[in-house]
Symmetry: D3
Subunit: 69 residues, 6 copies
């Protein structure tokens, strides 16, 4: 099984909050892993991103797809 | 500074690959952290997500926003 | 009317489930149609996508925009 | 294998256009299938979506994730 | 024509930068307009959003769909 | 503070509608500002976007991230 998504993170379910249409699930990630971002080259230059720098990666919860293998 | 995004992960830049319009940046995440997903209640039931289970979280790289503080 | 979205699929509403803030709408698509995906070149190579191969296209429901003409 | 994405469409690769960072892949979908959309209840009411009506579903190509099983 | 997207902003094209696969288009918005965000109720409470407050709305360029009428 | 998102719009909260899991927030934008879109080069050509033309920019509310500074 191979996915066309650069970020694939093993995580453990902590809690599930069920709503009428949408639900919110909380996970913990214990292991070191890789993340990737694709953004405009212009943004990379504005942020002046360089190897070794620490940043915050923000991801809205609606963009996270859980897969159960 | 507070962000309306449930996932906020501290990460270190590993490499930057600049393209004509879009660029791809690779990060490492060393520390344990939390992730959250919002999906339909129907999906939660199909996946039968329960506390303690391990899943794979897939996120396309275009949905990851680096923030430099 | 022309849209800056590569996927434009004619579909028929099957059901509407209204929630407090979000609603979920189900559609059927009867006719053959085209789909497009944009992903990193790296992902294309990892997946080794080639003409003629069958894949599964996953799209979260929050990314689907109904338009009524 | 179960995915936390309401839309899962079997499709065949037609062509692959590789770019420096991003690539574009074209697929055909031959079989009838279901689609789902999650939107605000307010949008559902503005659009006045009702069973039996035909709409256009727009999805940006960046939101489509190919999975190879 | 009605769209299932809460944000519909009239804008004027300023420049187009064409890349091999992806292109970047810049627009100006002259008129006052409305914006909407859907986020978790938990995020709303963390941010403590209240009428009258000023915030920054961040939107990745890949999520903006131009429509030509 | 610098964000890897091309669209950063100053806006004022008008109303907050809290749901069980998701909430909807309405903002007004008073000042002229810039917007950017990234789409396939093919879409740019289909739309035939040129400087000076007026278009409608559609953005789903789930893609808007409020940031409180």
């Amino acid at each position: 099984m191979r996915y066309g998504a650069r970020n694939q993170i093993k995580a453990k379910v902590v809690s599930v909050k069920k709503g009428d249409v949408m639900s919110q699930v909380r996970f913990t990630v214990e292991n070191p892993h890789e993340m990737q971002s694709v953004l405009t080259t212009e943004s990379v230059e504005d942020l002046d991103l360089k190897p070794g720098e620490t940043v915050l990666l923000a991801v809205k919860a609606v963009h996270v797809i859980p897969i159960k293998e």
